[in-house]
Symmetry: C2
């Protein structure tokens, strides 16, 4: 006999979920990655080695490392951050989190009160915005150019807020392989950003989830690594560089910050087996894996750009990403990608509509985000062709693609 | 250069955490388990088998199973619940969570609004109470006897609330190996509980985390398995039966409930590697492991009861637990276990003070919870002796133990 829970639910809940219907045929959404690139053999070897050595420690919450997370993992992350991001820190400065989503949750829980204002990038990770909304914060999107946040525009925003007596709680940025644009903020811009933040007394949250996946292998130092970086709370993850289904991320911050975040982490610890296996793998194979994965992703990115060019022609504008897993595409104003999302979804082509990735939702409604990491190159070609057909049918755009009159084939 | 975050933190944050100082010499707190019993070899074999077969699925959030969690794990849990708890359900009725703590968080997030009332057990899991407080709910502790919630007392509470126009959001119970008392609610009591809940139109949350660890191996059916069980949201976990550092729990409920919980689970999924390994292990070794673990725990429980009897004598009262990992001890009223917690902690003996495990904090201040699962039998004997010494020094209790005048040895 079923029981009606309806009168007991909170009045402000989101709409109920539908039953999961499996992945779409052409899966260009989310942060899924290349399945063949998952280093399965090395993860097996890492699991065997670390369980043999320390498996019995699973009997205690937090293993033998306390609430900041498995200490060898924190030590390994510190080595990686020094080598890759120029960021000098120790295991004591790191809090392991259950994915970088939990990192954002903890930071928001410590800092955000209803009515607060946050500055983020005009094109921005949707999960960061939805979380801020849930905390009762409002956000302002800072305009971007090919090098990330435009300092002049940011200064104007900060000046405008100051005139109204508002000091934003923080500036949230994804400076290295920005989501969704794929840009990389050069060092000089990072230094300017720190200067402006200092001038207005504003903290920075640096989300570096994608930073390992940069085509040319070189990245500027983390903002947190630069002089004045004490104001930066830094987040990272292994979801993009190893596998998204592994839920291990981390926060790097000074102890006065970590000590306030820790009491908010009431999850009994981040999954220890995943921490142990990742820690072992970090020291045994990770670097070579990242190089190979990045090459694979660059190839898929090229295939995605070629397909969009071929099938959308001049109707689609984008800047070639410098790394990562996404292409951020602008279509003519007439195209409502929210509607395209529905029409394409019904035919097995899944896209992320731009409004969800835009601080100004309406302003992003003719854009879309395409993830090229998970689908095969063939699937990219077929799916983009199908998407162009559907878009043409719904909006008359693209009128024609590079070689074929739309509707003619 | 460090940056002062103080003015940016929320005004209602908990006190900052201290640096972790390692485990105490005599560790009787928390839900840690027996280290030797962690089935390391079988977990290694499970990891190897499941990664070899499905490791590449780690490239997608949710593997190939969608947001409810790894489908083979849900199928395995359904088989276990049928066999152990008489609970008929399918993979579709199960939501895998990041430990049962997340299960409580999701249930509270869906149901609790500030000002709500919840009925729970007078001696109750502290994490359940702290979560309710954080959600702005108040709770009432229903009196317990050796069979769990006293139905007469519960009826009186419900009647009293009804007279004030208050319908509680739910009754939270740990009926099978209650935390902290270790009692098991018999089937007849469960049926009565369901009847009373139906009469007053109140849902039930059944937390069955410890239910596998019952000395005689037999347990009554889950409350959710009984007629009228549709009003029950059921939670379980592998933290107690396999290893607490693995963060995998689950909720069993009808789809109209799960569909409202799912949108609140914004963590990108529960760690997939842990789900995969547990799923594989459930079918290969779990049953034998639980039998062996329970025998080990029963031996440690006997050692703990013997040590408490020896060193505290008639000053300590407790009922022999029917399973689990905890002994719930009542000392004379004069003993403040909050103070004892500090004094003993300073000398390496960690205990859980009773006020944190009592709905009426003041009423629990002369009780304490001792976890016997993690320490060795020797450590139990030494630690309890030391605790009795400290308690005698601080409160003059116990005056003397079974054979020795306090202070004489």
């Amino acid at each position: 006999m079923s029981f009606d829970y309806t009168p007991f639910f909170r009045s402000d809940l989101a709409a109920p979920a539908g039953r999961w219907g499996g992945f779409p045929a052409y899966n260009f959404v989310g942060g899924h990655n290349d399945a063949k690139s998952v280093p399965v053999d090395d993860l097996m070897a890492s699991a065997a080695a670390v369980l043999a050595r320390e498996g019995h420690a699973l009997a205690t919450y937090g293993l033998s490392s306390g609430p900041q997370g498995y200490r060898p993992l924190r030590e390994g992350v510190a080595i990686q951050l020094k080598a890759r991001a120029g960021l000098a820190c120790t295991a004591d400065d790191i809090l392991v989190t259950s994915g970088s989503l939990q990192a954002l949750d903890l930071i928001n829980a410590a800092l955000i009160e209803p009515g607060d204002t946050v500055i983020l990038e005009e094109a921005c990770y949707s999960g960061a915005m939805s979380r801020l909304k849930k905390c009762g914060a409002s956000y302002i999107g800072a305009p971007l150019d090919g090098d990330g946040i435009r300092i002049d525009a940011l200064t104007a925003i900060l000046e405008g807020l100051k005139a109204k007596g508002v000091r934003p709680k923080f500036i949230y940025t994804i400076p290295t392989v920005q989501n969704p644009t794929g840009s990389v903020m050069p060092r000089a811009r990072r230094e300017e950003l720190l200067k402006v933040a200092a001038a207005y007394g504003v903290p920075i949250v640096e989300d570096d989830c994608y930073a390992d996946l940069i085509w040319d292998g070189n990245r500027p130092p983390a903002i947190k690594a630069l002089p004045g970086g004490g104001r930066v709370i830094y987040c990272g993850s292994f979801s993009k560089s190893i596998a998204p289904a592994l839920r291990v991320g981390y926060i790097v911050a000074d102890w006065p910050v970590l000590s306030r975040l820790l009491p908010l982490k009431t999850d009994g610890g981040t999954g220890a087996l995943e921490q142990m296996v990742l820690s072992e793998y970090l020291a045994n194979g990770f670097d070579g894996h990242v190089t190979a994965l990045t090459r694979t992703l660059q190839g898929k990115c090229a295939a995605m750009m070629e397909a969009v060019n071929q099938h959308f022609g001049s109707a689609a504008e984008f800047t070639a990403p410098k790394g990562g897993i996404f292409l951020w595409v602008t279509l003519p104003d007439a195209v409502d990608t929210g509607k395209l999302f529905k029409a394409a979804g019904a035919e097995g082509v899944a896209i992320n509509p731009g409004s969800e990735w835009s601080a100004d939702a309406a302003g992003g409604s003719h854009r879309l985000r395409l993830c090229f990491a998970h689908p095969s190159v063939d699937s990219i070609r077929e799916g983009v062709a199908k998407l162009a057909e559907i878009c043409h049918r719904e909006f008359g755009v693209p009128v024609r693609s590079a070689n074929v009159q739309r509707g003619g084939s």
